[in-house]
């Protein structure tokens, strides 16, 4: 189950450092995700989880370290080559970030037209399929403001999937949602995992991390403090700080 060694890594992060001015947010992070594997990242607020994901598709500049996609370094790519890599790495955000001036369908169709150069008709046909896949065919023509948070997040997932990404990054995608809406989104993610999508998931949903992940990373103060199979990490963490964190989130 361990992500190191067994099989080729789809995504590998090696010795990653990130500073915001004086603040050293990532202090040498190593992660490796096999093709088709799901790796969850848990940890206290401010430990650098979002920053880690944002560095992977270079929404943040990287100070040191390397990121490999299919074992090819992508750390120093720029311009069109970087855009190309971003297509291969889908990202879903905590606050959805849907385009508010466009309908659900157009949100999914826009990148198909702009990035993949599809015709409007083809893009909308494909967008409709994707919305169906996340259970939102009926909402295709609604603006985001008329959708619930859970529906918006599923549109955002469909939009990311439109680029046929090889890896998906999820940054606490359910933590802005009302509790009763979380399940729908998690179900979509479970489906994706079952279909063999490679996923790096930052989450506060411990049951999801436990059930779906191949590996769980516990981050604290900018390093991976502990890593392991969910069965071990959740039941018998080796580190005191992991234990304290789990105590707090599992028995609030």
């Amino acid at each position: 189950m361990s992500s190191d060694g067994s099989g080729a890594a789809k995504l590998r992060i090696s010795g990653l450092h990130k500073r915001f001015g004086e603040l050293h947010v990532l202090r040498g992070v190593d992660v490796s995700v096999r093709a088709g594997a799901v790796v969850s990242v848990i940890g206290p607020s401010g430990s650098g989880k979002s920053t880690l994901l944002r560095c992977v598709n270079r929404l943040e500049a990287i100070d040191d370290g390397e990121i490999f996609l299919d074992e090819k370094p992508i750390t120093r790519l720029r311009g069109a080559a970087l855009d190309q890599v971003r297509r291969r790495v889908g990202m879903v955000f905590q606050h959805f970030n849907l385009f508010p001036h466009r309908t659900a369908l157009q949100n999914v169709a826009l990148p198909l037209r702009v990035v993949c150069g599809m015709s409007r008709a083809d893009a909308e046909r494909r967008a409709r399929e994707l919305l169906e896949q996340v259970g939102l065919a009926a909402k295709a023509d609604e603006r985001p403001e008329r959708l619930s948070g859970g529906q918006q997040q599923r549109v955002a997932i469909a939009r990311a999937l439109a680029m046929n990404p090889e890896v998906m990054l999820f940054d606490e995608v359910t933590s802005a949602l009302d509790p009763e809406l979380v399940t729908d989104v998690l179900d979509v993610m479970r489906n994706l995992a079952t279909q063999g999508m490679t996923m790096l998931v930052v989450t506060h949903e411990m049951s999801f991390a436990k059930d779906v992940s191949d590996e769980v990373l516990f981050m604290d103060h900018g390093i991976v403090a502990e890593r392991g199979a969910p069965a071990t990490l959740f039941t018998a963490p080796s580190q005191e700080r992991t234990r304290r964190f789990l105590d707090r989130v599992l028995h609030p």
Binding site: M91, F93, F99, H101, P111, V114, E145
Partner: protein, 243 residues
């Protein structure tokens, strides 16, 4: 009271000079629309230069900042005088700039359009900039994470949202521009105020100017209502969305 009415609302003066004032107003409308359209484009160009984050375009950004500061900071009348008084004598400029006689209009007409565009381009650039900066960062990030280039994200995601939010202030500035066209008369363009003033000089009566004022109001008042309505709708949508 009668003197007041006679000075400002003399129907004979209004009737006799209606055509002349209307012709002047037509020039006012033309100047407003042409300079307005050019300012919309020029302001957007300036705003894009002003907001670029690209290091290679830094000089452009600095120039845009300088330009905007200068032309927001000096009176339009000064720009009108600077342009019309000296452009014709700068011999190395091409003739169409020194003495523009395009589409059968005299050079002063185009100097007026140029002055208005130069000044209002700077105003509108700041309006656009506010709109661009009001679009949340997450929008660009979502677009980029899908593989859109910086320019695609700008064009398909940021600008459509920015422009939508700045329609009311843009209309406000259009009203201001329309009123400011009256400054162009100092270089000899006979727009509505100049037309009214000529009548005033001949008749010692201001009723033609009153007529000009009414013509202005027929355009500016509905525009102001549209601005109000759009601002209200925007606020309602915002509070509805948060509720």
């Amino acid at each position: 009271m009668d003197v007041f009415l006679a000075q400002y609302f003399d129907l004979t003066v209004i009737r006799d000079n209606f055509d002349k004032v209307l012709l002047g107003f037509w020039v006012t409308v033309q100047l407003s629309l042409i300079a307005g359209a050019f300012s919309l484009i020029w302001g957007l160009v300036l705003a894009l230069a002003r907001t670029t984050r690209s290091r290679a375009l830094l000089p452009l950004r600095v120039m845009a900042i300088g330009y905007i500061d200068v032309f927001r900071g000096i009176p339009l009348l000064l720009v009108v005088l600077l342009i019309s008084g000296s452009l014709p004598f700068i011999s190395f400029l091409p003739a169409w700039i020194r003495a523009p006689h395009l589409f059968g209009r005299p050079d002063v007409y185009w100097f007026g359009v140029a002055s208005l565009t130069i000044t209002y381009g700077a105003y509108l650039a700041e309006v656009y900039r506010a709109g661009i900066e009001a679009v949340p960062r997450g929008q660009t990030e979502a677009a980029r994470s899908l593989g859109m280039s910086q320019s695609s994200a700008l064009r398909h995601v940021v600008l459509p949202q920015a422009v939508r939010t700045v329609v009311p202030p843009l209309l406000n500035d259009f009203i201001a521009l329309m009123k400011d066209t009256s400054l162009v008369q100092v270089i000899g363009v006979v727009e509505v105020v100049r037309a009214g003033r000529e009548v005033q000089g001949e008749t010692f009566n201001s009723s033609a100017l009153t007529l000009g004022a009414v013509m202005f109001l027929l355009i500016t008042m509905p525009l102001a209502r549209i601005v109000d309505r759009r601002l209200n709708n925007g606020r309602q949508r915002l509070s509805g969305g948060l509720a």
